[in-house]
Amino acid sequence: MTVAASDRSIWSDRKLTLDRLGIGIPACVDHITACGDRGVHLMEMGLTPGASVTVTRVALFGDPIEVVVRGYRLSLRRAEARLVALRSCGEGV
């Protein structure tokens, strides 16, 4: 299972953020690094700590990306995705 293998290896990088998550790899939000309203906005759209998130697609010009969070599709620029720090879903809440 290559996904599982890569799954384990990507979490050795403790600072993985949503903009660098590969397509189709399940992950969970660890925290939002933005201060100010940008972070609040992302959280209000459902990207709160513990929420599971998957990247489903990258737009034609490499930006923005499309993710599935809380059962719906959300697109955001890589600049915003960078504010979402991730963790493996197995780790504690």
Binding site: V40, G46, D63, R70, L76
Partner: protein, 703 residues
């Protein structure tokens, strides 16, 4: 205000009911079911946010207001601010609703409930509508509405907007909303313990800015510093004492948002448990209808083909489907003018009516087909969910010049006409992005420039099709390039601001509803006719008068060309000749420029008049082409060299020779400042570019 009277009370005064929900939750469909087709669309005071309001059918004493969709009560665009202000009773022109209906998309329950629980905390009588149950059923999920009702402590009605299922129960629920004491919805949040919330709550109570029942939620909302542009203060209607106390609080805590982030997180955690209790996922995941469509339309190859086809169809539709309608309008206006002329006989009054009023009305109405076609497309694309994908696909490109993916459609449709394009910028939430898009849209070569390009190119350039096509293409390229460069400059200077977030929901694909789209189109078209139309009409009459007065005495029997030369416009044309000479233009071109301020295509007709051509001139006119090719300066030099032709075309590419555009910008920005700025910068740009072209060309010996 503290006791809220329910709707069951038989009273003569009207009750206000507001619909609120996330975008794409089917709110407007529910609204249409409740009001029948009788509702009015207008704008909220001072902004171009549509206000949809109507009496509930069968209950003339209940007025239903469809508030703009939003994801939370923290506003991030003007329409979201209006929704919040209306709910809290802060809006200038909207009274606080007596009761609320929150519409949820049942297939996307968790995020929809985020807003719903905030609304419940306002403690107004509230009904929860769980819409789109058909989608939930088709995916074989199950939702327990009774359990949801007991979690939320408010009546929950399941509906299917598309078929009208559940609407009767909703009507019954509205009828039986009981008068009661203010409700208290609470969930185990942590903000109650927060000292700052308590402090804010105290402030809110002291200043009495909302009903006491709302103090809790409003306090936690106001923890976030205002996020909208300073020029649109969110709290303009609040007592200054409160605003300054609030600003002081924010300054003191260094605009810290950790408390509000904490509140968001806690709320979602509570919602997660709630959804787990009421929503049962299907055991097997079915590939949704939307997934299948997405696989094609966002495919690397087919996606691009689809995208190109949709955009091309839209452009062709605005360009050519509108043509027969516009020709029909031209014909109708012409025959109306002729009929008026024959009834009124001769004289100033007849001329005013025929050449001023009727022609002015014609200038307005002629845009109607293009506006309707563009808006019909936009309504269908939005309704189907494809619009969000267009923004998603194009954002990478548009962000390079500091614009938003949503700027793409307005800029593309500007190739047909800037007027509907500017109206289409309404979908752009960020004010700076929207204004930038509006200000650069008229630089894209619209169809009204085509006659000018055609007559100049065919009169002045050789027979080579390649040469002619090349020049034409360069004009389009110049306009597009100018638009992108100006956008980049505007975003770095006068419309500078923090990069707005691009956080956009990609809603599931749905079958667009033609009826709703047509009604939407009609509403917007009508608004253009009545509001921008009056400005355009007034300016048409002024321009007519400038070209009409002063009159030569009847006995002098002067030609139309001579009359135009003597008129105010002719005088203006002659007096600006020294200014235009460095561009290579004589006074006749000057007259053409001034008179075509009304609309670019007037240039060709005016040139026909100044060159004394008897027949009605258009771009096909061989005589006018000859006149242009042979016109000379007093010293015998040719006026129209190919270089002058290029210089003149460059001027028309860049100048804002279109009062309808200016009138629409005035209407959309609600200020004369922006159209004035637009006219000034475009004229300056056009003049400098033409100057460069002519002077460099002459220096290089191309003249």
């Amino acid at each position: 205000m503290s006791t809220v009277r329910g709707l069951a009370v038989a009273a003569t005064d009207t009750k206000r009911l507001a619909l609120i929900g996330n975008p794409n939750c089917g709110k407007t469909t529910i609204f249409n079911h409740l009001t029948g087709l009788r509702h009015k669309v207008a704008n909220y005071a001072g902004v171009t946010v549509e206000r949809r309001e109507g009496a509930m059918s069968g209950r003339p004493d209940v007025r239903v207001l469809d508030l703009p969709g939003c994801y939370s009560l923290t506003p991030r665009s003007i329409d979201q601010r209006i929704a919040r202000d209306a709910l809290l009773g802060w809006a200038k022109d909207v009274q606080r609703p007596d009761a609320l209906i929150v519409v949820l998309d049942a297939s996307n329950l968790e995020r929809n409930l985020f807003l719903a629980t905030q609304i419940l905390e306002l403690n107004l009588p509230t009904i929860i509508v769980c819409n789109m149950l058909d989608v939930v059923r088709s995916r074989k999920h199950r939702i327990d509405l009774d359990a949801l009702q007991s979690h939320l402590g408010a009546p929950v009605i399941g509906t299917v907007g598309a078929t009208g299922e559940g609407i009767d129960r909703l009507r019954a629920a509205i009828d039986s909303l009981e008068p009661h004491e203010p409700r208290t919805f609470t969930w185990q949040g942590e903000d109650a313990a927060n000292q700052r919330v308590a402090h804010l709550r105290g402030l809110i109570r002291t200043h009495g800015i909302v009903d006491p029942g709302m103090a809790n939620i409003v306090a936690s909302l106001l923890l976030a510093p205002a996020v909208l542009d300073e020029s649109q203060p969110g709290f303009a209607n609040l007592p200054p004492a409160f605003s300054s106390a609030l600003a002081e609080l924010h300054r003191a805590d260094g605009h810290d948002v950790s408390a509000i982030s904490q509140a968001v997180e806690t709320r979602y955690r509570w919602l997660g448990q709630c959804v787990e209790a009421v929503f049962t996922h299907a055991e097997t995941t079915t590939t949704t209808h939307s997934d299948r469509i997405d696989r094609v339309v966002t495919h690397k190859v087919w996606g691009l083909v689809c995208f190109g086809a949709v955009m091309l169809t839209m452009l062709v539709a605005i360009f050519s489907w509108a043509t027969p309608l516009m020709d029909g309008i031209d014909w109708a206006v012409g025959s109306l003018g002729a009929a008026a002329a024959s009834t009124l006989g001769e004289g100033i009054l007849a001329d005013l009516i025929v050449d001023g009023v009727v022609a002015g009305v014609g200038n307005v109405v002629v845009f109607f087909p293009q506006i309707c076609i563009l808006f019909l497309f936009i309504a269908l694309l939005e309704d189907s969910g494809y619009m969000a994908r267009v923004a998603f696909v194009m954002d990478g490109l548009m962000s390079k010049v500091g614009l938003h993916g949503k700027s793409f459609i307005p800029l593309l449709s500007s190739f047909a006409c800037a007027v509907p394009a500017i109206m289409a910028t309404r979908t752009i939430e960020n004010r700076r992005d929207r204004f930038t898009t509006m200000l650069v849209a008229p630089l894209m070569s619209c169809s009204a420039r085509l006659p000018i390009y055609i007559i100049l190119i065919s009169a002045l350039f050789g027979t080579s099709v390649w040469e002619k096509t090349g020049i034409m293409m360069s004009m389009y390229a110049l306009g597009t390039l100018a638009a992108l460069v100006v956008a980049l400059i505007l975003k770095r200077t006068i419309l500078k601001g923090p990069t707005p977030t691009f956080v956009l929901e990609l809603p599931p694909y749905r079958r667009p509803r033609l009826g709703a789209a047509l009604r939407n189109t009609w509403d917007r078209g009508k608004m253009f006719l009545t509001e921008a139309g009056s400005v355009i009409l007034a300016m048409s009459i002024i321009l007519w008068a400038l070209a009409y007065f002063p009159r030569a005495p009847e006995s002098a029997n002067v030609s139309a060309g001579e009359q135009l030369r003597r008129s105010y416009i002719g005088r203006i044309g002659r007096s600006i000749e020294p200014v235009l000479e460095p561009l290579g233009f004589d006074w006749k071109i000057g007259v053409g420029l001034v008179s075509s301020f009304a609309a670019r295509e007037v240039f060709v007709a005016t040139m026909g008049v100044v060159y004394g051509i008897e027949e009605e001139a258009d771009e096909e006119s061989a005589t006018l082409r000859q006149e242009i090719a042979t016109a000379t300066w007093p010293d015998g030099r040719k006026v129209f060299t190919p270089l002058v032709g290029i210089s003149l075309m460059v001027f028309y590419v860049l100048a804002c020779q279109c009062m309808s555009t200016l009138a629409v910008v005035k209407r959309e920005t609600d200020s004369w400042r922006w159209p004035a700025f637009m006219f000034a910068y475009m004229t300056a740009l056009a003049y400098s570019a033409s100057f460069l072209v002519y002077q460099c060309g002459t220096a290089l010996g191309l003249g």
